[in-house]
């Protein structure tokens, strides 16, 4: 049986109290919400926090009116009446139904970056003499790289970036609100701009976007994304007034594809426009050989997935393709 290392457990009742504990304990403390990301990592000794600060008892993180509390589970998000398409499709494809009952929105946004050289037991990592991300000094994915290239594997972040959503971070020195894309840094180790004493408390999603999310993974459940394409569009009739395209699992952070977003503005989604935009989107997908499936293939199908997303927003009936790829109706 894999077991957790020893830890001290704290259960603050408010965000302020939690931030105080974080400030007091420094890097020895870590936040835990659903536990679906941190606890496996602790069992494999990626993280061995001295203090676990549980967010479960903080009622204010569970707000579901207007802004979404970071403590809502993904299943709870899916049960809400009014959530944008991209977020719904992203949340519905995270891991498995059980893990969606446990994992939270905040947890998915702060998900540790992943890499096949990193998401392994301590003993396995010992066998490769560890890696840049944890306990070692070589990146085995790109041995010349000075930077860790572990891949951002959150599904909800690209969806929220496309939706132009913002997150609220609350720390000892007060509260700040930033666009979701600014939460991330393109560094597999230091991948969040969250300050050590900050807690991601809520997500604000503006109205008015038509959006969708397409996820590439091998199986109908369990698997992390190998590519996530999120597109949000404001239409005026059938003309694109504004577009936001975001990619997930294509770098150490999820990011906005500005060129494609710009290109789409003022255009009708004809087959030619979709092909051109898809090429622009795919051009930004630069996967590394550190996930499931063949690297070149993942690169090659990026434009197909971008095309699926754009066609779905154009109003094409994509249900049959969805079913073949996702393996269930999203």
């Amino acid at each position: 049986m894999l077991r957790l290392p020893w830890f001290e457990y704290r259960a603050p009742r408010s965000v302020v109290e939690a931030a105080k504990i974080l400030a007091g304990e420094g890097p020895a403390a870590m936040l835990v919400a659903g536990g679906t990301d941190l606890l496996p990592n602790m069992k494999r000794r990626h993280q061995t926090p001295k203090v676990l600060v549980s967010l479960k008892g903080i009622e204010s993180l569970r707000n579901a009116n207007g802004t979404l509390g970071s403590g809502l589970t993904l299943s709870e998000i899916l049960s809400l009446k009014k959530i944008p398409g991209a977020l719904r499709q992203a949340a519905a494809q995270v891991a498995t139904p059980h893990l969606r009952n446990m994992g939270t929105l905040g947890g998915n946004l702060c998900l540790d970056t992943r890499c096949t050289y990193y998401n392994q037991n301590y003993e396995w990592r010992q066998a490769i003499d560890f890696c840049l991300k944890k306990d070692g000094n070589i990146c085995w994915v790109a041995t010349a790289s000075k930077r860790c290239v572990a891949v951002s594997s959150t599904d909800t972040a690209p969806a929220l970036i496309a939706l132009n959503a913002r997150v609220v971070l609350q720390g000892g020195s007060g509260e700040r609100e930033i666009p979701v894309e600014n939460l991330y840094k393109n560094d597999g180790i230091d991948y969040l701009s969250r300050k050590p004493d900050e807690i991601l408390t809520s997500v604000k999603i503006p109205d008015g976007w038509k959006s969708c999310y397409w996820k590439l993974r091998r199986r109908g459940s369990f698997d992390f994304p190998l590519l996530g394409v999120a597109v949000a569009i404001k239409f005026s009739g059938d003309v694109v007034e504004e577009a936001r395209v975001a990619l997930g699992a294509a770098a150490s952070r999820p990011f906005l594809v500005e060129k494609a977003s710009e290109y789409l503005k003022g255009k009708k989604l004809t087959d030619d426009v979709i092909a051109e935009a898809s090429a622009l989107i795919a051009n930004r997908a630069k996967p590394m050989d550190n996930t499931d499936m063949d690297l070149y293939w993942r690169k090659e199908v990026a434009d197909d997935f971008a095309g699926y997303a754009l066609r779905e927003l154009r109003g094409d009936d994509m249900r049959a393709i969805r079913l073949r790829i996702a393996r269930y109706a999203i």
């Binding site: 096949t116 037991n121 396995w124 003499d129 091998r218």
Partner: protein
């Protein structure tokens, strides 16, 4: 006895162990605990190939809560499943792969044991890493083992049944193909666990999730240098085995030794990562197939060469090596057959038997090649196969005796059900159907160690309470062996299966059965059970006949009664028992089974013979996206020649489960390894030893499966029932690859078939190149001179022929 219609056989029923499984009552090995039980963890090598120069356990021993630390010096005697490969020490000083155990800690709890492992200081001398068979062939030194054929070749063999060069020269076409089948593992849901303790009578009790308690029993006696009569092995119900729990394992030896030394119960449960290191799964096999065919679509001969990646230990390897060829001639008339096979050692966890043991790999190649042959000859692949199906009661070129064969019926059934004739080659681009067939043994004709003893024994005890208890050493893995045992006894005695108590898999109380492997249990245990049940039934009949004043042979055992149709007299089963107990004393009977003597007499003829062979045919439907190569499987049709269905619920479950595992292998499962850049590191690690990254199908990835059971009772089998646990897996992989060809016209000549390979092949096709992805060369293997055996058709006597004897090297 009077003949009757079946009461139990063929009727859908709740399996005898169904209730315990659905309520959580059933105890698997890790569910057990004992007072004062200690816990064991193993320290495993981080190096793929290294010698342990020194090992310092002093600090670990001093850690509070630690009771014992064991190392190689505590285990002077090696073990192994096969007498020709006794090459494992429970703890080693020569690590052959990452994860090879070098030390063990026994402590108060697992947490302390893990802490203590970190305090053991090991100095390793690293040796050159040997990653794959080609590297093994090219690097005779350093040797991974100091035995075997030469260098890092473990087994190397060559057989020729009839003159194959001549057969190929006389063919209208000769097809030459290379195929590769990637290794994969069993991934049982249950991680192996073992509890060892010294019982009140001073004897050692080892309770373990093992498929083969008998072989574990023998190896424990060997390693511990104890009298086997003082060791009892209980196989707990296995949470899935699929071949992965056949080998006696390091951890079983270690906790047994610790329990003896400490006098306290010691338990170990492997982590999931450790299960990947225990492995013993499907060998990666590279194959070269040269097959001669006539214009009319008849085979003239085949030359098959295989190269196996054995990993770090022998395991079942000598048998696996044979199995990459010996069943190839069983499905279709193949007049001449040359088979060369070589197994190499490499620095990876040892390969061994997984569902289909060694045969899925050549079956994949053979069935894909037949699809290519049909294409070339412009024949329907189903018709091609129907034209060459082997005859019943015939001998193959390599001297295997085929009894009943329902293969043609299987083909006809799936062809009809899938509307093959109106759909194959006639669907829009991107949609396709593929057909393939297969065969499997109903138990290996020879045991793993040489002996002339029975392969299975069953004991039945009856008493005046009406209780019927059946004892057998066979092991329940989920395949339903307890239900088979109960079914056969219940049918003979005319009672319900629910009236029977099965006691199985306990070397301390049950007669020897060799174990749950090679699809042998239904046939071998079943025949032994039949014999025992008929013996007690005859006692009951004699006594009842006397009481009713009728001739015993006119009595019928049915529906819990013993009755005499002619006179209309009857008694309850319970009364019959009491009459018999009164007449004969305490009631019971023994039955045993030994398979028929195989017709082949040449050295090596022992692998492949079986009392009967099952046959399957399968059609897979695919939809392929030509832009991405994405593969969708909406439906699979399968027909299985089962001889006779004992419990249709379980039989269908075995077929669907086999199809599932076959499809999962065909599409995604890979026991693949990562060699780090040799300039920077000697590491060779399993790419993904986890449930998440070792991909297997989920409920959402599983297509609909239409199952047909073809019944042609085989006289060698109990009530005619053949195996169903392994056969139905085998045709799925080639049927999928053939369906891809029908859909988009590309050949994927390796397993798994993944979207990237399909897309690569489509790309080649669009460039006008050969639309194929697969291996591109077969290395030079120093196969020996073949053992030449004349075929039955040529009037051979089953022995090595004098003509070639002088040149033969075995």
């Amino acid at each position: 006895m009077s003949k009757k219609r079946f009461d139990v056989v063929g009727k859908p029923r709740r399996r005898v162990d169904g209730r315990a499984k659905a309520t959580g009552h059933l105890k698997f090995a890790d569910d057990l605990s004992a007072p004062r039980m200690l816990h064991c963890k193993l320290l495993r090598s981080p190096h793929p190939h290294a010698l342990v120069e020194s090992i310092d356990t002093a600090k670990a021993e001093k850690l509070p809560g630690v009771h014992l630390v064991l190392t190689r010096k505590d285990f002077p005697v090696p073990f192994g499943i096969m007498p020709v490969s006794l090459d494992e020490h429970p703890l080693t000083d020569h690590a052959r792969h990452v994860g090879d155990p070098v030390a063990a800690v026994i402590a108060f709890d697992e947490q302390i044991a893990v802490e203590a492992l970190n305090l053991i200081q090991v100095t390793y001398k690293k040796l050159k890493t040997i990653s794959d068979p080609e590297e093994a062939l090219a690097s005779p030194e350093p040797r991974i083992h100091d035995y075997g054929e030469q260098g890092n070749i473990h087994r190397n063999q060559s057989y020729e049944f009839g003159d194959v060069d001549e057969a190929l020269a006389n063919a209208d076409h000769v097809f030459e193909d290379l195929f590769f089948y990637q290794g994969n593992t069993h991934l049982p849901m249950e991680q192996q666990a073992t509890l060892a303790q010294v019982e009140g009578d001073g004897k050692l009790l080892v309770t373990s999730s093992t498929q083969n308690p008998h072989y574990l029993h023998r190896q424990l006696a060997r390693v511990l240098q104890m009298n086997a009569a003082k060791i009892r092995v209980i196989a707990t119900p296995n949470g899935g085995g699929f071949g992965g729990k056949c080998d006696p394992a390091n951890h079983e030896m270690v906790v047994a030794k610790a329990a003896v030394m400490l006098g306290r119960p010691v338990k170990i449960c492997l982590t999931r990562e450790e299960v990947f290191y225990q492995h013993r799964g499907r060998h990666p096999v590279l194959m070269k197939m040269r097959t001669g065919v006539t214009k009319a679509g008849k085979l003239t001969g085949m030359h098959l060469q295989t190269l196996l990646d054995g990993g770090g230990y022998g395991s079942h390897g000598p048998a696996s090596t044979f199995y990459t060829g010996v069943l190839t001639p069983v499905t279709y008339d193949l007049p001449r057959f040359k088979f060369e096979a070589c197994r190499t050692f490499t620095n990876k966890p040892a390969c061994g038997p997984k569902r289909g043991h060694g045969t899925p790999q050549p079956r994949f190649g053979q069935e894909v090649q037949l699809d290519k042959i049909a294409e070339k000859l412009k024949m329907d692949p189903a018709e091609l196969r129907l034209g060459m199906v082997n005859k019943p009661d015939s001998l193959t070129a390599n001297w295997l005796k085929i009894g009943t064969i329902g293969l043609a019926e299987c083909i006809n059934e799936v062809v009809a059900r899938s509307n093959w004739k109106t759909r194959y080659r006639q669907q829009p681009h991107g949609r396709g159907l593929g057909l393939a067939c297969s065969t499997y043994m109903c138990g290996a004709g020879l045991p793993i160690y040489w002996n002339k003893l029975p392969h299975s024994g069953v004991q039945i005890l009856l008493d005046r309470s009406g209780q019927v208890t059946v004892y057998c050493g066979a092991t329940e893995l989920g395949q339903g062996s307890d239900d088979v045992l109960a079914t056969i006894v219940a049918e003979v005695l005319g009672i319900e299966t629910g009236m029977i108590r099965c006691v199985t898999g306990d070397t301390g109380t049950t007669p020897v059965d060799l174990g749950s492997y090679s699809s042998r249990v239904t046939i071998m245990m079943g025949n032994a059970a039949m014999q025992a049940a008929e013996r007690v039934r005859d006692q009951l009949a004699t006594a009842t006949g006397e009481q009713l004043e009728v001739i015993p042979s006119g009595l019928l055992f049915s529906n819990g009664k013993v009755f005499h149709a002619e006179s209309g007299k009857s008694v309850d089963f319970l009364e019959a028992i009491q009459f018999a107990e009164q007449k004969f004393g305490t009631l019971g009977a023994l039955g045993s089974y030994s398979p028929p003597k195989p017709p082949g007499k040449y050295k090596g003829s022992g692998v492949g013979p079986s009392p009967a062979y099952s046959f399957s045919a399968c059609v897979v439907e695919v939809e392929v996206d030509t832009n991405t190569g994405w593969i969708h499987v909406p439906k699979i049709w399968i027909a299985h020649d089962i001889g006779r269905t004992l419990n249709p619920v379980l039989a269908r479950g075995q077929v669907i489960g086999g199809v599932y595992m076959g499809l999962s292998e065909a599409l995604m499962e890979e026991q693949a390894f990562r060699r780090l850049p040799p300039k920077l590191s000697s590491a060779l690690v399993h790419r993904m030893p986890s449930m998440l990254e070792y991909k297997s199908l989920t409920a959402l990835d599983m297509p609909d499966v239409d199952v047909a059971l073809i019944e042609d009772p085989d006289p060698n089998c109990p009530f005619g029932a053949k195996e169903v646990g392994q056969g139905p897996l085998l045709p799925v992989m080639p049927a999928l690859a053939n369906a891809i060809f029908d859909a988009v016209g590309v050949r994927i000549d390796e397993i798994p078939v993944t979207p990237d390979k399909v897309l690569r092949a489509l790309d080649l096709k669009s460039k006008g190149l050969t639309p194929r992805v697969g291996p591109d060369h077969f290395p030079s293997v120093p196969y020996p001179e073949p053992v030449y055996v004349a075929t039955p058709a040529e009037g051979g006597d089953g022995k090595e022929s004098k003509k070639h004897a002088a040149a033969a090297v075995v």
